[in-house]
Amino acid sequence: MSVPNSAPIKPVITHPRNVIVATDCGSTTTKAILIEKVGDEYRQTYRGEAPTTVEAPFEDVTRGVLNAIAEIEELSGRKILDGDKIITPCCDAKTGVDIYISTSSAGGGLQMMVTGVVQNMTGESAQRAALGAGAIVIDVLASNDGRLPHEKIERIRTMRPDMILMSGGTDGGAVTHVVEMAEYISAADPRPRFGATYKLPLIYAGNKAAQPQVKTILGEKTALVLTDNIRPVLERENLAPARNKIHDLFLEHVMQQAPGYKKLIEMAGAPIMPTPAAVGVIMETIAKREHLNLIGVDIGGATTDVFSVFEGHFNRTVSANLGMSYSISNVLAEAGLANIMRWVPFTIDEQSLRNRIKNKMVRPTTIPQTLDELQIEHAIAREALRLALIHHKSLATALKGVQQERTISDVFEQQQSGKTLIDMLKLDLIVGSGGILSHAPRRVQSMLMMVDAYEPLGVTRLSVDSIFMMPHLGVLSTIDEKAATDVFVRDCMVYLGTCVSPIGHGKDGERCADYAITFPDGRVDQGQLSFGDLRIIPLASDQKASITVQPAKHVNLGAGVGVAVTREVQGGVVGLLLDGRGRPLQLPTDHDARVASLTRWYQAVDLYPKAG
């Protein structure tokens, strides 16, 4: 399985780092944050943002960076810029910063094409390597992908990736198929997305025995880099060397071609990281530090990234066309109208809804002005989150094609190799990020969107990124883990609370479980959770309580059907959410009954203002 995500080499920094400015250059907005050491701890103090300036008429990413930093200057009163330069290190208490760092996903991020021999073996390993390094995988080519050779060549030629990762074969195995793929790539003569004159970077991380042939075939036509096989033997993945090479080539080749990035690299005190790679680093750090299984999601305007760490295995996927603005129409196309409508607690005609969604697509920066519009966006977000998790589950798997030893007890459990690693019962924490979750007018809206989309089982804690600063903290953690941790804990994570969701079904009003909650002050709250109930018990972020749940005979809370569970639960800005709606979540199929159920649930947790 995949190894932990690799971080770039740490630069040597000698002066103290008390004031840090970090930016994330997104496709549309460049977001800057200022981090200052206050006493013994680091805090995020100011933020600024400005439109990203990768495209014409500016064609220089640093313009947007300087504008975003200028906003921080105005707000903080600190002088950071001297013309087009960032003053480093600090000269006095109100001048300069000690280091500037940045991430980037501007210009569509890092777009890669990967190849393997067997699609669900080396093809998937290559995909995991590229995704883990922060790339968007635009296609996976494999010898057995069902396409005819000339179709593969045509596909390679029409795609204009920033980079290609080639894998295939175990070390010492047959070379024919890998060499064949190299021949196809050579025949296609692929061209990079940016810069008509430079050679396309290509990483070969397949069978070592085929390296000489690959070098002969592709050495002249591409900027070829050879590295260790990502699947040296069937039973093991070795993704780190390929990921490191992706990061290196991203900086050396791809970013050098993007407008203004040479300057940006010079300005920064640490290597620029692709935004999703930085978010991945911070997710892994949280999981490791707190020994958690977690799922993180970053739902943006164009893409939705899902990260998971289960039993120490890190995985990332990107659903390139699931998002809340540029890709909103694609959520409708993929989920279908009925799936979106099932979350909307009122009646709206199909034509009007379809037109509204398309209008958001063509004018992506608009915001919901009425409550109806907000509820429609939240309904779409639930579906985007749900689909992205399905995609993630299909890729975050144990290795496929590996021989398994079976005993007689396994006879009735015909599990295939390559089972998903995502086990919702073992999930401890869900971390949400991205505009729709971070900026929801009420925090309970973010919590319920994630609960409805992910359907957590048993006891699961939820949180959101307060103002989308995980990328900044990810890159910061590669140079100063303490600073990143301080800010992450104090300013970034907003704990929403804990969701308790029994598995099973029953008629509305029927007993689902009995519960007893012991609060820190010794108070005990006892009650019954019925099927169809959704209830919030206030419990502050800094409080922990003990909950004992006795599920009904046919209901399971993770320990077995009808078996009582006692857990310590953490509070949050929302509190404790007791979800008696059953799992898997089934909404009434009848329109009126569904609207009535949604209205009851939304009112029970005070999801929206009453006026709507």
Binding site: E180, R354, Q369
Partner: protein, 377 residues
């Protein structure tokens, strides 16, 4: 909020626009700096390498890959005709002879003794890049393309499908709020750029195709009709390569929305003139909006200016704006006031707003993110 307003679409009688015309692969530029070009004139040319056909000769001949050189009739670099013999074996008995014929006319590109594969390539296809707009060549990028500058009237749309085309502007309706129906579309509109009003129905789209219009410029369309036209549900707004028979440009959005008076009047004023239009839309990372460019006079720029599109400082009281989100979607008014404090809207979000005054004198507070400036002098 950083986005205090959406920059908006340009609708202007007078603009100097530059269009970068780039080949997708290196080739030769056919014009020089200072030269005047027509819209349909080729400005650059490239040879697109032909399609590649792999043939596994080793498998077909039943020999080891490293032996196939012995059986080849044609060597790498040789020209081949369709059905010409590429390779053959030499059995003792003639009846067992196997001949491998070339499936295409082209050239033998390579032979691999690892895979036993021969790659054949079809002859290159010549790609000609047209000027697109009539104007002056102001820059030549060697081997890659040119920059054409034109002095023109310019209308940007919000969304379009279909690529570059051109034709004479013809106004099919009498008012910007009139719906374009099949009866408006007549045979004499073939090859022309037809301007409609607030909406086009699905049967009018069919009629437009039958008539053979070059382009349609319209206020709005229903998403379901777009889906029917394309044959699929458009997920992401990256367009320009669709082949539906004409180029479609929406000036306002989805639904029935009267075309902005300024846009309608400008296009009406140029009825009978040639326009270059493009439906290409890309909303993510580097916005490309569909456009209608109407070059002035002989199509030659008389401007010596270098700034193609003037930049604005920001939004001002009295500016004309379009509301781009429900519940007042599509309404046009002017900025009455710009309160600086954040205001709570019905969703409970605190946002920056502006007061918009409509033609009937009524006013409404609208989030600044939900208005679009109607730009252009």
């Amino acid at each position: 909020m950083a986005h205090s307003y959406t920059p908006g679409l340009t609708v202007t009688e007078q603009a100097v626009v530059r269009r970068r015309r780039m080949l997708s692969l290196p080739g030769s530029v056919l014009v020089t700096t200072g030269e005047t070009v027509r819209a349909n004139q080729a400005v650059a040319r490239a040879e697109l390498p032909g399609k590649v056909y792999p043939l596994n000769l080793a498998n077909q001949l039943g020999v080891a890959p490293d032996e196939i050189h012995e059986y080849l009739i044609k060597k790498p670099g040789d020209q081949v005709q369709k059905d010409e013999i590429l390779a053959e074996n030499k059995p003792l008995i003639k009846w067992f002879k196997t001949e491998i014929l070339s499936p295409i006319t082209g050239v033998v590109e390579s032979v691999s003794n690892v895979t036993g594969q021969v790659l054949l390539r079809e002859p290159p296809r010549v790609l000609e890049l047209l000027g697109y707009v009539a104007g002056l060549i102001v820059e030549v990028i060697p081997e890659q393309g040119v920059v054409v500058e034109t002095n023109c009237s310019l209308v940007q749309g919000i969304f379009g499908i279909g690529g570059e085309t051109r034709g004479e502007i013809v106004i099919a309706v009498t008012a910007p709020d009139e719906v374009l129906t099949p009866r408006h579309l007549t045979a004499d509109m073939k090859g022309k750029v037809v301007v409609g009003g607030s909406f086009i129905s699905s049967d009018a789209l069919v009629q437009a195709k039958e008539v053979g219009v070059a382009g349609l410029v319209i206020g709005g369309i229903h998403d379901k009709d777009l889906r029917a036209l394309l044959g699929y549900d458009l997920g992401v707004a990256i367009t320009g390569t669709e082949q539906v028979g004409f180029t479609l440009i929406l000036t306002e959005g989805f639904g029935t929305i009267p075309m902005a008076g300024k846009t309608f009047n400008l296009l009406s004023a140029h009825a009978g003139q040639q326009a270059s239009i493009s439906g290409a839309t890309q909303i993510r990372a580097g916005v490309i909006r569909p456009e209608i460019i109407i070059p002035k006079g002989a199509g030659v720029s008389d401007s010596r200016g270098t700034a193609p599109v003037p930049e604005r400082g920001g939004i001002r009281i009295g500016d004309q704006v379009r509301i781009i989100r429900d519940p007042l979607f599509g309404k046009i008014g002017e900025v009455a006031s710009l309160p600086s404090d954040l205001q709570k809207i019905p969703t409970e979000s605190d946002v920056r707003v502006m007061e918009v005054r409509f033609a009937d004198g009524s006013k409404a507070m609208i989030p600044r993110a939900n208005i679009e400036l109607i730009e252009g002098a």
